[in-house]
């Protein structure tokens, strides 16, 4: 490796917002970096295309938009760094990531220990044929020009058996921050989006809730090399709550009319802070949530969340009487998050390496990604194996991470059906032992 030039200098691209520049300049200066000679000493920001001009020497170019191949800093000096990989779109562009994911799925199909890639909800690039869409989405009356809605026995995509209709998320493949998000509960709602540039994604259901709101976990992923891939995850991160309390998109009676509200399902920064409480919490709040939420759930309507004060209501009192000290396996959750990030890198890094232009070595790049992750309630591993609803213990042969009720005495019929289906699948995989 070549030593970087001394003294180390930095340059901001013109697309860095004026509100962000003072923050970056302050941090860069405190870390021993100086503004590049020839640039403004207070705000050394120039367009990226000017960064390669003769006489403008720098060690670090910080941009917001991705750097194109023609803007590669090959002549900027040995050891110069840009905070983007030219081919990072393989990781950040939804369509590219989906294509890379399918490529890895095919490559690893049948291999022992192949990952299930459960960190990304099943998704499809649009447009899809009406027949295909009809299988994925619940049908509706009045769809005259379209095929009839699927019957209850029609299997869903991915081999999943038919069940209650599920909501689908439609979003542009090249947008971010919730732009263009739409939640469809019928295919009439989905049809206007059945065009190129959009993707259809299975809704994460049931989501894990904090303060009765959906949330996402934000982690920081740093990629410093592609061959071999060198990735790091930062210990710090945060969770952000949705603006409005969660409303399931479907009940046993059908779609919920106000379930598609933007503030219910979207948890990113686009929504602003209409929520009166602080929507940002450190990761410690998440670990505490996992540790405390092993209390059996209330049996009220939509009772997937913990009662706000367990002793205040009759349902809460019943839940409290069934409660026992049980702790979530936080280490297992952290390992699960890190495993998902490692797989995310592994899925995209082959394409990133193959598409890198030969004139631009990866030694010139690093990139810091902010990765969002939602938790699905059923996927949260726990150390306790008792039913989270009726607190009865499952059979000893049941997988340890299952927490569902297997007894017919449980009060929630739909929950019991789900549990029994999962139990059947688990037994099919593990039997004979």
């Amino acid at each position: 490796m070549l030593a970087p030039p001394e003294p180390r200098t930095f340059l901001l691209s013109a697309d860095v917002t004026k509100t962000l520049r003072p923050f970056l300049v302050r941090v860069f200066r405190s870390e021993g970096l100086q503004p590049a000679p020839g640039a403004d000493a207070e705000e050394p920001a120039v367009p990226v295309v000017r960064a390669r001009q003769p006489g403008l020497s720098w060690s670090l170019l910080w941009t917001v938009a991705n750097v194109r191949a023609g803007q590669a800093p090959a002549g900027a000096g040995a050891g110069a760094k840009v905070n983007h990989f030219i081919t990072s779109f393989h990781l950040t562009h939804k369509a590219r990531l989906l294509q890379n994911l399918e490529r890895q799925r095919k490559r690893l199909a049948g291999a022992p220990g192949a990952p299930a890639f459960e960190w990304m909800p099943r998704a499809w690039l649009l447009p899809l044929s009406p027949d295909r869409l009809a299988v994925l989405l619940p049908g509706a009356d009045g769809a005259d020009a379209l095929p009839p809605p699927p019957t209850p026995t029609t299997p869903r995509a991915g081999g999943e058996p038919a069940g209650p209709p599920l909501a689908m998320v439609l979003k542009p493949t090249a947008a971010s921050r919730g732009d263009g998000f739409h939640l469809a509960t019928t295919w009439e709602e989905a049809l206007p989006f059945n065009r190129a540039g959009y993707m259809l994604q299975r809704y994460v259901h049931p989501p894990d809730l904090i303060e009765r709101r959906k949330y996402h976990v934000r982690l920081y992923l740093l990629l410093t090399a592609l061959d071999p891939p060198r990735a790091y995850v930062h210990r710090e991160g945060y969770i952000k709550l949705a603006m409005q309390p969660y409303v399931p998109a479907f009940t046993a009676d059908g779609p919920v009319s106000d379930a598609t509200a933007y503030g219910v399902h979207v948890t990113n920064h686009r929504q602003g802070n209409v929520y009166e409480a602080d929507p940002y919490h450190p990761l410690d709040r998440l670990w505490a949530h996992f540790a405390e939420r092993c209390v059996p759930m209330s049996r009220g309507a939509g009772g997937r969340e913990l009662p706000a004060a367990a002793s205040d209501t009759a349902a809460g009192g019943a839940a409290l009487s069934l409660a026992r000290p049980r702790g979530a396996d936080v280490t297992a959750i952290q390992r699960s998050l890190h495993r998902a990030l490692a797989q995310l890198v592994a899925v995209a890094v082959d394409s990133m390496r193959e598409d890198s232009p030969p004139t631009f070595t990866e030694d010139h790049s690093f990139e810091l990604f902010g990765v969002r992750r939602r938790a699905r309630r059923a996927r949260v591993p726990q150390t306790a194996t008792d039913c989270t609803h009726c607190a009865r213990s499952p059979p000893a042969s049941m997988p340890a991470r299952w927490t569902c009720c297997l007894t017919r005495r449980c009060g929630r019929r739909s929950w019991r059906r789900t549990c029994r289906r999962r139990w059947t699948r688990a037994r099919a995989r593990s039997w004979p032992p």
Binding site: L2, P4, S30, G79, P115, P229, A231, R235
Partner: protein
């Protein structure tokens, strides 16, 4: 972004940015040394040597990563790791434990 959000996010983002700079930009570029091969490892393939190097690099950087934790892809993405895992000397097991746990 209101003040309550800034109270959490701004200092945290500053710490992440500082660690990023130290790890990716300003850290001393010490040339990586090839690790000593285990006994009988002189005939190892290039891929095996690469993994020895990765292990050495990971150990060297563990002391100076700030808030970062190293993240490595799992063995399923690297079929050439599988023969290493059957190594009876235990070197591969330690390599696997370092990279994947």
């Amino acid at each position: 972004m209101d003040t309550s959000a800034s109270a959490l996010l701004a200092p945290m983002k500053e710490r992440v940015l500082r660690d990023t700079l130290r790890l990716a930009v300003t850290r001393p570029n010490v040339p990586a040394a090839l690790p000593e091969l285990p006994p009988g490892g002189e005939a190892c393939t290039f891929e095996q040597a690469r993994w020895f190097w990765i292990e050495s690099e990971a150990r060297r950087e563990l002391a100076n990563l700030g808030g970062y934790l190293p993240l490595m892809p799992s063995a399923e993405f690297w079929p050439h790791v599988q023969p290493l895992l059957a190594d009876p000397s235990g070197y591969a097991a330690r390599l696997h434990a370092l990279l994947f746990t």
